[in-house]
């Protein structure tokens, strides 16, 4: 990591919680170039032959290992599209940490579009953590448009934690998942937008196999004049169960459009949707103020808790 400067290290810490070289397999990408890569006996990372991106192969039966693939951008005006494909062997049980941090102090827009595809083998278990973060006070926008595709084979499980709390001006997130029998998908998304930011987040989860299930929960806060569109869709094509929940706090002049949708193509599909948008309850503010917080402090505590 000798190539990384202080700003890049800061970004790295924000998106991947890394202070130093991680243990296990990793691929660090900084300003469009590889800044470090390491494979392990069970996890191989290879650059793609054509175009930019990497292939990550996780051997079947790999247990308790992790892969970190953070991306940092600190150069104004950089625009890149990266393809990362994960091939996860049967029965593997691993942690994957991705994330992108952009620092833009310049006047040109910086953009990172990451396309992540996961081919998850039978009975494998994946925990996936993705954090997006922006900083820098230039006029150039910080743009992130991640696409995530998840293909879950029989009996496999994927737990996804997607967080974007700060500093990304414009984002269009697309997540697609297809589940075979007994596969399970759990998504926890946390979004906060402020200023003039706009965030679009769309999920399309298809439950194809009997016994498959999905639980997609999105919590978001729209402050200032920001805009969010949350599009959560589950299709049930078998004896499956699906649940989506969209829970948003709106503040200032923020705007939120929640578009939940369910489609059942099997009589045995059980799909549930919940959606709520509202401002912070006055009673919650009052309670924290009676404990000695100012209104602004109370607001901050409530939002922090909500997005935790």
């Amino acid at each position: 990591m000798a190539k990384m400067d202080a700003i890049q290290m800061q970004l790295l810490q924000e998106v991947a919680g890394l202070h130093e070289i991680p243990e296990g397999a990793y691929n660090l990408r900084a300003n469009g170039e590889t800044a470090g890569r390491q494979s392990t006996a069970n996890i191989t990372i290879t650059p793609k032959e054509a175009g930019s991106g990497i292939d990550i192969h996780i051997k079947e039966g790999t247990k308790h290992e992790s892969v970190h693939i953070p991306v940092v951008l600190s150069e104004s005006g950089l625009k890149e599209t990266v393809y990362n494909d994960f091939y996860v062997g049967d029965d593997a049980d691993v942690l994957i940490v991705a994330g992108c941090g952009i620092d833009n102090c310049g006047t040109q827009d910086s953009e990172h579009d990451g396309i992540h595809r996961f081919f998850v083998g039978k009975h494998a278990k994946i925990k996936y953590v993705e954090k997006h973060y922006g900083s820098g006070n230039g006029d150039g926008k910080r743009i992130l448009n991640p696409v995530t595709e998840v293909y879950l084979d029989e009996g496999s499980t994927m737990e996804m934690e997607m967080v974007q709390i700060k500093g990304v001006d414009s984002t269009e997130r697309t997540t697609i998942a297809e589940l075979k029998a007994d596969a399970k998908l759990i998504v926890r998304e946390r979004l906060m937008t402020h200023g003039q930011q706009s965030a679009l987040s769309a999920y399309k989860v298809t439950l194809d196999g009997d016994g498959s299930s999905a639980d997609v929960v999105s919590r978001s806060v729209a402050r200032d004049r920001s805009y969010q569109k949350l599009d959560l869709c589950i299709l049930g094509n078998a004896a499956c169960s699906g649940h989506t929940e969209c829970d948003s706090i709106i503040m200032d002049e923020g705007r939120i459009l929640a578009v939940p949708s369910l489609e059942a193509n099997s009589v045995d599909a059980e799909l549930v949707h919940e959606a709520a948008i509202g401002k912070i309850a006055g009673e919650q503010l009052i309670k924290l103020m009676t404990l000695g917080l100012t209104e602004a402090e109370a607001e901050e505590q409530i939002i922090n808790g909500f997005l935790k």
Binding site: I286, M289, T290, L291, G292, E295, G305, F306
Partner: protein, 245 residues
């Protein structure tokens, strides 16, 4: 410690303006255990909210420890040492019991300190400390956590609005022990409890009967209690529960 000078509270209702608190004057001394009782809708909760600054008085003056707090907001009053346990505590998605106790304490108290407050209110600390203060908690659990948030603060005046509601599995004796312990503080703390419960009325230094926004009676326990026992103002929840069972 607290003086209410001719305070009134009017609010808008469907039938126009109504007077909910009607020209009340009241003096509370330090180091006292005072119980406010009276019929439902009499204005007890409203009076407590006026003291805490949650609703603004429309007339009169409130003086706390020599300071005129009439125009102070909730936060300022809280920082002067007024604590308020709600009749219907609020739930928070995401905030844990530990978060709430830390906010109440005003500092990052250790987990074991926070656990002590929970044990005081009869909750098994390790089961609750990481729980979210959300809809998964029962009304009774929430009520006890609410009381714990007052214990975590070093208040001069502690107001409890019907603290006994929903104490289901928790003994009354425990609640009374908490009040007794709170009163042993060095700062001359006064406890103001809104309650209908005979057992709580029984340990009062002073009883105030509030009805239709006015003080109907005020005096020592010995003066007031004999007159209201068995009336609609005082009932024993435990007796009632055992009769229903």
């Amino acid at each position: 410690m607290l003086d209410l000078n001719h305070i009134s509270f009017q609010a808008e209702s469907e039938n126009g303006e109504i007077t909910i608190i009607n020209d009340i004057s009241l003096h509370l001394d330090s180091n006292k255990f005072i119980v406010i009782t009276g019929p439902n809708g009499g204005g007890k909760s409203t009076l407590a909210k006026l003291i805490a600054g949650i609703e603004p008085i429309t007339d009169g003056q409130i003086v706390f420890d020599g300071t005129d707090i009439t125009n102070m907001n909730i936060t300022e009053r809280a920082r002067l040492g007024i604590g308020f346990a709600f009749q219907q505590p609020v739930r928070f998605k995401g905030l844990t019991v530990l978060d709430l106790l830390r906010i109440a304490a005003g500092k990052n108290i250790s987990v074991s300190e926070a656990c002590e407050y929970l044990s005081e209110v009869g909750l098994c600390a390790k089961d609750y400390i990481r729980r979210e203060v959300n809809a998964s908690l029962s009304g009774g659990e929430l009520k006890r956590i609410e009381i714990a948030t007052i214990l975590a603060r070093d208040v001069r005046l502690a107001i409890f609005d019907e603290p006994e509601a929903g104490i289901d599995l928790w003994s009354f004796q425990n609640l009374i022990r908490i009040f007794e312990k709170m009163q042993q503080s060095e700062n001359g703390r006064t406890i103001l409890v809104i309650s209908h419960q005979e057992r709580i009325l029984n340990i009062a230094d002073e009883i105030i009967v509030l009805s239709e926004g006015k003080i109907l009676r005020q005096g020592s326990r010995d003066e007031i209690l004999p007159d209201i026992i068995g009336t609609k103002y005082a009932s024993d929840v435990c007796r009632k529960l055992s009769e229903e069972a």
